[in-house]
Amino acid sequence: MAILVIAEHDNQSIKAATLNTVTAASKLGGDIHVLVAGAGCGAAAEAAAKVAGVAKVLVCDAPQYEAQTAENVAELVKGLAPSYSHVLAPATSAGKNMLPRVAAQLDVAQISDIVAVESADTFVRPIYAGNALATVKSADAIKLITVRTTAFDAAGDGNAAPVEAVAAAADLGVTALVGREITKSARPELGAAKIIVSGGRGLGSGDNYHQLLEPLADKLGAALGASRAAVDAGYVPNDYQVGQTGKIVAPQLYIAIGISGAIQHLAGMKDSKVIVAINKDPEAPIFQVADYGLVGDLFEVVPQLTSAI
């Protein structure tokens, strides 16, 4: 049987998380179909058709998918799912929001946030903020899975899969989008960045955060991240939060500045290739995971680092 991947997209293009999810699907064996549900989403469907390993793109283009509400998308996926052995979505805020609805309606136990595929019915997923890895086996006829994107490489391109239209499901009309405030930034997306400069409560204020970390991130072409404490204190918007309950990242280089290294923060970044910690407290737990630790006052060290690069 085939595998269905739910694409994350903005009607124009496919989000990077979709590419990692396709790679996870490729470990299962079976044709991979990608669903693009949106409004005026032809360009996104074309982009999905180029992804290596995709056998077919299903496009569902209808006004009720404009806001991609969980209720309406789940209603569509619920109808399609019985023809598939597995349905996968990235473990992004959109995937996490939508897929459990499908699972409940199909009476299936969803497997959240997998980091490895052992076999077609057995998967590995982190629990307790990544302090343990559980290998779980599903007895359900259809496997509904969300995928931790950092655990799987991005699928390549160069494909030309056929694109097939599928009929829209009913518009449930129970949810209305009032508005979105999307953080605008010319920087790379946190989830896909090669380098991340991340700041914590040690920065002391939003002004300090911006004045000290932005020039460094500019020089490195890095994305900016933050601890929960920095977000709660209003230094930066919520979507900067890295951690157990924020974003999971695994860049080539993660520079933690003025971050103590609480379990919940480590859960989001400890799979980074190289970790640098800058902290004035030599006992800070962040040093236990850092490849390079620099004990010092960030207000002195960070400007020096920016000019040395």
């Binding site: 459990p100 057995t122 982190p126 280089l253 640098v276 620099l294 690069i309």
Partner: protein, 249 residues
């Protein structure tokens, strides 16, 4: 308006759990247990809605072992009016919890359910969405702001790119994110008062729900350990290491 708040008893967020040597699970004997932090935020939000005169009753529900009574008492100490324990020793997975909560909702007929977005033990992030789907209600997950008016909830949600505001018809399920509020500390008098509030106990069988787990945990293992690297003396040495040893810049 009645608000129902599901609260889960979990290992306290400050505890770093250890994997059992035989790989059968994590060792939670003698570790501190607390209310899931996202559920504390949910109780706080419901109680504030009551204090603001929007809600009339806040009911806390916990599913699990007898000791979940403590979690319910904690919710009542924040200000929930009563508690319902769905008591079982069976390991509960999100789908089973959602079914139990559906049965409780069918009976209690709340106008709003406020759950946590995620339990910090299983990190599943499923139950609220599943409950909403089983009830055929709309959902607004990962909430950082909730306003109720005219039979609707206007909810601001934390999403990957920033914020999104939805308007959902009630009854609905809302799940909390960290920025929704800062839960109060329960005062001693309120802890005492909570001991006298009503707490009903039911069994899954009374609710007609089969809670048998669907996922079998084959093993639980330690994640690969990351060892501490080296301390660098100054910025020059750090830059040298990053350029010439790690080769990441």
């Amino acid at each position: 308006m009645k608000i129902l708040v599901p609260v889960k008893r979990v290992v306290d967020y400050n505890v770093k759990v250890r994997v059992k040597a035989d790989g059968s699970g994590v060792d939670i004997a003698n570790v501190k247990m607390s209310m899931n932090p996202f559920d504390e935020i949910a109780v706080e939000e419901a109680v504030r809605l009551k204090e603001a005169g929007v809600a009339t009753e806040v009911v806390a529900v916990s599913c699990g072992v007898t000791a979940c009574q403590e979690t319910l008492r904690a919710a009542m100490a924040i200000g929930a009016d009563r508690g319902i324990l769905v008591e079982t020793d069976v390991e509960l997975q999100p789908l089973a919890v959602a079914k139990l909560l559906k049965a409780v909702c069918d009976k209690e007929q709340p106008d709003l359910v406020i759950a946590g977005k995620q339990a910090i033990d299983d990190d599943a992030n499923q139950t609220g969405q599943m409950l909403s789907a089983l009830m055929g209600w709309p959902q607004a997950t990962f909430a950082s702001k909730v306003a109720l008016a005219d039979g609707k909830a206007q909810v601001t949600r934390e999403i990957d790119g920033g914020l999104e505001t939805l308007s959902v018809k009630l009854p609905a399920v809302v799940t909390t994110d960290l920025r929704l509020n800062e839960p109060r500390y329960a005062t001693l008098p309120n802890i005492m008062k909570a001991k006298k509030k009503p707490l009903d106990t039911v069994k899954p069988a009374d609710l007609g729900v089969d809670v048998a787990p669907r996922l079998t945990t084959l093993k639980v293992s330690e994640p690969p350990k990351r060892s501490a690297g080296e301390r660098v003396a100054d910025v020059a040495q750090l830059v040298d290491k990053l350029k010439n040893v790690a080769k990441v810049i």
